[in-house]
């Protein structure tokens, strides 16, 4: 899983590439730590290059969204491919995480 985090003005653009699973979930969690502290974040997560997410990934997205909302910010996951979107759909996470 490759992750790049870019700040564009007030917005933060996170780009994900590859699989998010047990082998790299801890690293992913560490990589997004800077997003867990900034005040009132506005985060777009571009998932067009993400090929899979495991339940660890779902938990990380959930905790990131909770943290962002608690700080009065917003987070949206964009351009999910159908395989990844299906994981969100069959677990009911499409109802929880903001996806566009």
């Amino acid at each position: 899983m490759d992750i790049t985090i870019k700040n564009e003005g007030e917005k933060t653009l996170v780009t994900l590439n590859g699989r998010l699973d047990t082998t790299n979930a801890d690293q992913f969690q560490a990589d997004i730590q800077p997003l867990m502290t900034s005040p009132k974040p506005d985060i777009d997560i571009d998932c067009s290059g993400m090929t899979y997410t495991s339940s660890q990934g779902l938990r990380i997205f959930l905790s990131l969204q909770k943290s962002v909302l608690a700080r009065g910010g917003k987070m949206v996951m964009l351009n999910m491919n159908p395989q990844v979107k299906e994981v969100f759909d069959i677990t009911g996470f499409s109802n929880i995480i903001a996806i566009r």
Partner: protein, 359 residues
């Protein structure tokens, strides 16, 4: 503006006191904001000001001989709480009475001063001191001695008072009679609106309480389906058994989320009562579980949302009604917004359902 020596002395004392007056304002605002939060009270605004020198001088010019010392002027620090509803003014007053030392001789309930055939300024004004139990600074004992004015009024009373103030007249006595009549007519309308807002809120609260007891009674066919009744019904956790069964497929964690987004789907399915939702639950539970089994078994996904139970119930209900791919697409469009993906997902589920003899 030319003031006499007595008033100039009061102004000098005011200038010396400005830091402590600002401190009183700050302490009172802090106490009020904390108290509102602790009591779960939501108000339109809590605001405070220290009278400007120009404003105080104007007051002294008009009625300086009324004041022997600066301590006789009780509104140099003014704080205002603006509520949404008229009955909240009394609730807040009760809180204020418990918190601050009230100078009852100088406090005024303008709401009770108006005669039955008059409409106008309605506000509750308390003259208060900060008790040492709430704030004490041995270096600044005046903080507990200087009085401040606390005004409590509704948002509509506030609008009226501001509009009247905006006319540029300092008191209603100065306003030409014909304009005063218009302003008072408006005050009457706003008083009526305040009463109506409070009445409507009470009726809504009564309705919600009735709905809760109706839902709790279990006579679901007697309970019309609407946002309030569905919310009350959801508090009974009607989909818990199915959600737990679905979670067991992968020994998954069940994440508690709200099933409320599916309310609009139930309406589209023309459900009229909570009894209709109950029937869907009993008729479609097995199908909803089978669908989850097809989708989740072998994926290793060990977290699922509680709402997935209702999601699958709706899917199975739509398929049983024969609405097919179009019906599912319409459901997904309603919940997630329109996208080409929704039709693909609907088609995939439809094919899964056929292969598994769900329909």
């Amino acid at each position: 503006m030319k003031l006499d020596m007595h008033c100039e002395m009061i102004l000098d004392e005011y200038r010396e006191r400005i830091p402590i007056l600002n401190k009183i304002r700050e302490v009172v605002l802090d106490i009020l904001q904390r108290t509102m939060k602790e009591n779960n009270m939501v108000v339109t605004a809590i605001e405070g000001r220290v009278k400007t020198e120009k404003s105080l001088a104007g007051k002294l010019e008009l009625k300086g001989n009324k004041y022997h010392t600066i301590d006789d002027i009780t509104d140099i620090v003014g704080v205002r709480i603006i509520t949404f509803f008229s009955d909240e003014v009394d609730q807040i007053a009760a809180l204020v009475e418990r918190m601050f030392e009230i100078d009852w001789d100088n406090s005024v309930d303008k709401r009770k001063m108006l005669e039955i055939d008059r409409f106008g300024y309605m506000s509750l004004h308390y003259i208060c001191r900060i008790p040492k139990s709430l704030y004490e600074d041995p270096q600044q004992p005046l903080i507990n001695e200087i009085r401040f004015e606390l005004q409590m009024r509704t948002a509509l009373q506030h609008v009226w008072a501001n509009m009247q103030h905006d006319t540029g007249y300092k008191s209603e006595v100065e306003i030409p009679t014909e304009h005063q009549r218009s302003l008072n007519r408006l005050a009457g309308i706003l008083e009526l609106a305040d009463e109506q807002f409070s009445r409507i809120r009470k009726e809504i609260n009564d309705y919600r309480r009735n709905v809760q007891s109706l839902v709790a009674s279990g006579n679901f066919d007697d309970v019309p389906l609407n946002g309030d009744t569905f919310r009350s019904y959801c508090q009974l956790k009607p989909f818990q058994r199915l959600a737990v069964k679905i979670a067991t497929i992968n020994q998954a964690e069940l994440y508690e989320d709200s099933p409320m987004p599916y309310y609009q789907v139930l309406l589209r399915l023309e459900m009229k009562t909570i009894g209709d939702v109950e029937r869907m639950r009993s008729e479609c539970s097995e199908g909803a579980y089978q669908l989850a089994l097809i989708q989740l078994a072998g994926t290793g996904l060990d977290i699922v949302a509680y709402s997935v139970a209702l999601q699958n119930l709706c899917i199975v209900k739509i398929l049983k009604l024969g609405f097919g791919v179009a019906g599912l697409t319409s459901m997904f469009n309603a919940i997630y917004g329109e996208s080409a993906y929704n039709a693909q997902r609907a088609d995939r589920i439809f094919q899964q359902a056929i292969r598994s003899n769900l329909i």
